[in-house]
């Protein structure tokens, strides 16, 4: 598993949320620190889609212990979570 640059990953994630998640939110309102939960972007359906995307695009399965609001609050925190889980998987 090659390491991903944080900036590249954040960029990819922002593009996914803006273009693929179809939350009905103008793209320019989605920034690294946008509160995705408060904005209603991550409801149950879109959270499930995001998790599926993270699984297929980054080969990362988010275990239950990491399924908390703090990790999914903003695109930045989600990026950090993906990097954390990838580094944990790589060190196994």
């Amino acid at each position: 598993m090659t390491d991903l640059d944080r900036a590249v990953l954040l960029d990819q994630l922002l593009r996914y949320v803006r273009e693929e998640l179809e939350a009905g939110v103008p793209a320019d309102l989605i920034t690294p620190d946008s509160p995705l939960l408060e904005m209603g972007v991550l409801d149950s359906v879109r959270t499930a889609r995001l998790l599926a995307h993270i699984r297929t695009a980054y080969d990362v399965r988010v275990p239950p212990v990491h399924m908390t609001g703090e990790h999914f609050r903003t695109p930045s925190t989600i990026t950090d979570l993906i990097l954390l889980l990838r580094s944990q998987a790589a060190s196994l």
Binding site: L37, V45, R55
Partner: protein, 361 residues
């Protein structure tokens, strides 16, 4: 199991809850089937658990009674097993598996059926725990349960992470369990309202972490939508067998019903539905056991088996003709027990949405 199931008195017309019957279910391993042996369960995986419920149903155990056991195990015991603190697991699981405790699943609300993301029930953080306020309806085992697995909004702005799961004792001050609802089917499983009024739940009865309510619920639904519906495989198996017997015996137009092509075609469709649903359900259980994301297979299995149960019960009604309307033949009871299957655990249209999502639509 099939033989043992015949020993459980069905007696569903008398819908009262009996502890001795509940203990019999525990004795057959049904209440703790999918719980590790160290916690008092049988240590089975999803597929073996489904086979156990299917066999109990095929053997003739009452559908409503098995539904009560399944609601207890899949919607309550499994969340405690997977999400409770170790000491809470230790305190509750042996009694839940042994039938000493009955658990009720308190998710649905009067204004929140399919849309489980907007729970009006609130949990307010206080010193040492939470205060619950709200009304839950269609609580399976509600009137008789000793413990409830329930879900409440903890962060209205929290989106997917806005609710939290709890295991609440029946005797908690502020908890009021209502009388049994008058339902049209599954009589042996009582269901009712549960009202929380400033009902205190200690922190060690939280399931998972704050905000993980949806995760807890969805995890339990993977089990319920697969393993519980094995009951309806057993029910269909029984119905198909009865229909085979009936069409070989009864004669009309100088022939056995079995020799009338429309009847034989209908029977073929019943068999096809049963076996298609069975394969999907086994596949869904295998996905759970393999640790894969089972969502797509579980949704397809739930949809196929529940719709098959309704269609096949109605087809049995057509095959038995006038006798299907007589209570003594039991066909009308099978129809009434099958009808809610396309609604509870997520309606057929919700399953179609989950399938569409699984397809990447």
């Amino acid at each position: 199991m099939k033989a043992a199931a015949q020993e459980i008195p069905a007696d569903s017309s008398a819908a009262e809850f009996r502890r001795d019957r509940w203990k019999r279910l525990a004795g057959l391993g049904l209440l703790g089937a999918a719980v590790p042996e160290e916690h008092g369960g049988a240590g089975l995986g999803a597929l073996d658990t489904a086979l156990l419920y299917e066999a109990a149903s095929e053997g003739g155990a009452d559908t409503g009674l098995l539904f009560a056991a399944a609601a207890h195990l899949f919607a309550c015991v499994r969340p405690v097993l997977e999400f409770a603190l170790p000491e809470t697991r230790k305190a509750l699981l042996p009694a839940l598996c042994a039938g000493a405790l009955v658990a009720g699943n308190a998710m649905t609300e009067p204004e929140s059926g399919s849309d489980v993301s907007r729970l009006a029930t609130r949990a307010t953080k206080v010193d040492g725990g939470y205060l619950l306020d709200g009304v839950k309806s269609f609580v399976s085992n509600g009137p008789v349960a000793d413990i409830y697995v329930t879900y409440a909004t903890t962060d209205p702005e929290g989106g997917y992470f806005g609710s939290t799961a709890f295991a609440v004792d029946r005797d908690s001050p502020g908890l009021d369990a209502g009388a049994p609802l008058e339902k049209s089917g599954l009589a042996a499983c009582q269901a009712g309202e549960v009202v929380f009024t400033r009902c205190f739940v200690p922190d060690d009865r939280m399931l998972g972490r704050p905000g993980q309510g949806q995760l807890v619920f969805q995890t339990s639904m993977q089990w319920e939508r697969s393993c519980l519906f094995a009951i309806y495989l057993g029910q269909q198996e029984r119905l198909v067998r009865r229909c085979v017997h009936h069409v070989r015996e009864r004669r009309q137009f100088g022939k056995r019903l079995a020799d009338l092509q429309p009847v034989a075609n209908r029977m073929a469709d019943m068999k096809l539905r049963l076996e298609s649903g069975r394969l999907l359900l086994y596949r869904a259980c295998a996905e759970i056991d393999d640790g894969q994301d089972p969502s797509l297979w579980v949704a397809m299995a739930k949809l196929a088996v529940s719709e098959a149960a309704v269609a096949t019960a109605l087809d049995a009604g057509r095959i038995f003709g006038g006798r299907a309307f007589l209570a003594e033949y039991g066909i009308e009871e099978q129809v009434r027990d099958a009808l809610p299957a396309t609604t509870f655990s997520g309606t057929s249209d919700i399953q179609r949405q989950l399938i569409a999502r699984g397809m990447g639509l």
